[in-house]
Structure formats: C-alpha cells, structure tokens
C-alpha cells in the first residue's frame, strides 16, 4: 500500500472481513501467486482464495500476475497435503489498540491449538486469467507453458 501511495495511486485499506462490503465497488481484482500448479490451481498466500471466492460471487474478474518460472508440474487439490506452518505467536500477539492479547497463556490450555497456515490453493473456477511474461493465459494452460519451456 505504501508503495502504491508513493506512486500516486489513490488507495483504500481494508481487512479481509470487509471483503463483502467493498466488493461491489470493485471492477477488477489483481492478485499475486507463489506457484501455478499443473492442474490449474494457484498456490498463493493464505487469504487469496477467499478474495477470489468473494470476487467471483460478485462477478468481478480475478487476474493473477505471475512469471512462468513459477509454473510447476505438481498437482494438488486442497490446501492441507502440502503447506507450511507459520509462527502461532503471530495470532497470539495480534491485537488492535495495543490492548493485551486475549490469547495470553494459550500454551497452557491443552485443548487449544493455534494454526497459522502460510499458503492456500485457489481453484480454477474463480480465476479469470493469468498474466505472465509470455502473454495472458487461462490457468488451465499451465502444462502447455511447462512443455514449451522444457522443450526449449
């Protein structure tokens, strides 16, 4: 956001909870990706799938910007089989207004687990188009890109 503001683009900042509230004023959604999987799914930062889901329910086009070196031949259908766990303290220390955390002493409670996922998977039905340096492709064309790159 800071970089966009520095370039003179007017910005609004909201948390993911306010997605449904702002989505009606949105005409396009641009997202980044960590990897493009061979079955058309996009692996990206956690929360991306939620943005794509709400955007597609409001019929807003979702565009991913991604270089071709991020295309990989792995296939995956859900976000569990392969993911990274972040630091659970990020949830425990997150608190607005500097108030003391509601999760103080969470480690002492046996039944409480704090999960901080890093990546999630966006299904191809929410994705309109992927923008790469070789052009604009639908997300199902990733195996074609891979074949072209490997054959060169």
């Amino acid at each position: 956001m800071r970089r966009l503001v520095q370039h003179g683009i007017p910005c609004s900042y909201v948390l993911l909870n306010a997605l449904s509230y702002v989505m009606k004023e949105v005409s396009k959604v641009f997202l980044g990706a960590h990897a493009l999987l061979a079955n058309g799914y996009v692996m990206s930062r956690v929360g991306t799938s939620l943005v794509a889901l709400v955007a597609s329910s409001y019929n807003v086009p979702v565009l991913f910007c991604c270089e071709t070196y991020k295309c990989c031949d792995r296939v995956q259908t859900d976000s569990f089989v392969f993911n990274e766990l972040g630091d659970p303290e990020d949830l425990a220390s997150a608190q607005s207004n500097g108030a003391c955390s509601k999760l103080e002493g969470w480690r002492d409670i046996q039944q409480l687990n704090v999960l901080n996922l890093v990546y999630d998977l966006t299904p191809p039905d929410f994705i309109t188009m992927v923008i790469t340096e070789v052009g604009m492709i639908p997300c199902s064309s990733v195996p074609v890109v891979l074949r072209v790159i490997h054959s060169v």
């Binding site: 956001m1 800071r2 503001v5 007017p10 910005c11 609004s12 900042y13 909201v14 948390l15 993911l16 909870n17 306010a18 997605l19 449904s20 509230y21 702002v22 009606k24 930062r45 956690v46 929360g47 799938s49 939620l50 889901l53 709400v54 329910s57 409001y58 859900d78 976000s79 569990f80 993911n83 949830l91 997150a94 608190q95 607005s96 207004n97 955390s101 509601k102 999760l103 969470w106 409670i109 046996q110 039944q111 409480l112 687990n113 704090v114 999960l115 901080n116 996922l117 999630d120 998977l121």
Partner: protein, 352 residues
C-alpha cells in the same frame, strides 16, 4: 406523537432516556441484555401509565418503540421486542372482546376473512391489564431461557468426531457447543475475526471447557473448509427474507461453505427476528462503520492521510447460503421465516 409521550410519567421518560444513552455509549453489548431491558421497560409502561383502551396503549408503545429505534437504528432487538409486546396487547384485546380464543390459524376464520374482532381496540375491558401483564411475564421468561432452549437442541445436530467451524464470539453458539460437548467428542475450528479478535476469546473459552479447538486466521477459512462438516454461527439479526445481518466476515464464510457444500447452521433467539428487509448488495444502508484505528493504527504515520480506511461491522448473508435456523422454538428452514413473522408480529407494527 407528542401527546402519546405525555402519557408517560417522568420516571419512565428518564428510564427510557438512560437506556438509550447506555446503549449509545457502549460499543459492544449483547442483544440479550437489550431485549431483556426492553421487556422490562414495556412492562413498566403498561403498569404505570394511564390508559383506558388497548388503542391508547398500542399508540404509547409504538411511540416509545419508534423513539428507541430511531435513536439507535442498528440495534434491532429493541424494535423486535416492542413488536412482540404490541402483538401480545392486540391479541389479548381481541380475546377479551371476543370472549373465546382468537386462533389466527382457524381456517374458517381465514376463509371468511373475519377481522372485526381484531380491529376493535377502542373498547375498554376491565381485565385487560392483568392479562397483558401476565403475557409479558411469559415473554420475559421466554427471553430468559432462550439460550438454554437453543442449547438443548445441540445433540440433534452434532455427532461424534465432527469438525465444526465457527467465527467470532456468539454466546448462543458457545452455549450450544458446550452443551453438545458434555455428551459428544468433536472438534471445533474458530476463525479469529479481526479486528475485534472476538474469535480468540471464543476459542479460549471453548478449549477451557474441554473441547478440542483450533484457532485459525480469517484468511485460512477457505483453506480449512474442505475439512469441515458443519458451519455453526450466530447472528446479530435475522431479516424478514431469511437472510442474516451477521458480523463482518460471515458472508465470506458462508460462501466458502456453499462452495464446499457444507451446511450452514445459524443459532439465534427469536428476539433477533426482525420484520425488515434489506437490499442485498447495498450494504451501505444497513451497515455501521466504526473507527478505522483497529484496521490501520494511527502509529502508521504519514501514509494515513493518503489512504481511505473502512471498518464495517455487519455483513449481509443472503438466505440461499443458510441451511438451517435453530430458534428457541425449534429448527426452521430460511423459507419458513415469513410464517414466524406473521405468528409473532402484527402486520400493522412492521413499521413502528
């Protein structure tokens, strides 16, 4: 309207004003407390003001209801309870003038469209006050045990080894899950609901009650949804079309559940049922925006002057995303909500 207010004693006017200001100053207050206090207020109005016919009483109650709702438009429980009280008053007046039970479901009555008895509110009856006060007491009791009545239904909906997802902190859902946990073992995933982080409080409370709980960030809701068997949420208001005015983030949660074909169950007490409709995508009209410092703290500095920050409180969830409502009177589909409306509120009171 002003002469209806003159019927109110000074003590009552003071009570109403202090009730309104206490709601306006506190940002978070439970609908249960609001509903309870509103019934109490209505009972005092009925017993302490002088009225000779049901018509005058209805006018006074409507005035007070309008006054309170216009002071705090986002708090619908006040208006809902006032409408319940008005229905009770109208029904009792109809019973007294009729002499026999005025059953609105009576097929013969519906077919012949006999509405003469319910229109005649201007006749004075001696026992009307006592009958109304008794019904108000029953309403008060119903509100007090509404949480309990919802939680005793929990065993029918949660089976062993299930994974349940919820978001935010709803006292109704907390009691619901804790009641089920006494007999069944299941797993709960709670979304933390930034920026209020009420979900963290809920997660901690459930874990302390012995339920296996996992706390996740809001962003991970779609990622975790493929593992979830049921979504159980609470709501602020149930709208007349069966939709919800729930805390922000509920719409995204319901959409993710719909995508994975996971049923969405909503636990709400009847005083949250409102006869108002809200336009689905125009969320500006019913939403409440609170201070942006929870989203982007003031410590961020100079960039704040160039950026617009929004922090809405509510979310509209359309009725096709909700699978089941669990009210204190039992479970219902969203398509049945219109029938509950006609049972508990009189059509003349929909607009106070």
């Amino acid at each position: 309207m002003s002469d209806a207010r003159q019927h109110l004693t000074d003590d009552l006017t003071d009570r109403i004003e202090s009730f309104i200001s206490s709601r306006q100053q506190k940002r978070l207050c439970s609908s249960y407390d609001v509903a309870h206090q509103t019934v109490d207020l209505a009972r005092r109005i009925i017993s302490q003001t002088r009225w000779s016919s049901a018509c005058e009483l209805v006018e006074t109650l409507r005035t007070v209801g309008r006054w309170m709702s216009s002071a705090i438009p986002s708090e619908t429980a006040m208006g809902n309870v006032m409408r319940r009280v008005l229905k009770i008053v109208r029904d009792e007046a109809a019973v007294s003038s009729d002499g026999k039970q005025n059953d609105p479901d009576d097929l013969h009555r519906m077919l012949t469209a006999q509405r003469a008895s319910s229109d005649d509110l201007t006749v004075a009856h001696p026992n009307l006050k006592g009958a109304i006060i008794e019904s108000i007491h029953e309403l008060m009791e119903e509100i007090e045990i509404s949480g309990h009545n919802i939680s005793i239904q929990s065993l029918e909906h949660i089976h062993a080894n299930e994974v349940v997802m919820t978001c935010g902190h709803s006292r109704t859902v907390e009691a619901f899950l804790k009641a089920a946990a006494r007999k069944r073992k299941f797993h709960v995933i709670v979304a933390e609901s930034a920026p209020s982080y009420q979900g963290q409080k809920m997660g901690k409370s459930l874990a302390e009650a012995g339920i296996e709980t996992t706390l996740i960030t809001d962003s991970a809701v779609f990622a975790m949804m493929s593992r979830v068997n049921k979504v159980i949420i609470g709501t602020h208001t149930v709208l007349a079309d069966g939709g919800l005015k729930a805390l922000n983030g509920a719409h995204a949660l319901a959409l993710a559940a719909h995508h994975h074909s996971v049923p969405v169950v909503v636990c709400a007490a009847l005083f949250k049922l409102s006869p108002q409709f809200h336009c689905a995508y125009d969320q500006d009209t019913f939403n409440k925006i609170v201070g942006p410092h929870d989203v982007l703290p003031f410590a961020e500095g100079g960039v704040l002057s160039d950026v617009q920050v929004q922090n809405p409180v509510f979310d509209y969830v359309p009725p096709d995303l909700v699978t089941l409502f669990i009210f204190n009177t039992g479970g219902n589909a969203p398509s049945y909500v219109y029938r509950l409306l006609s049972e508990f509120y009189h059509p003349d009171d929909h607009d106070l």
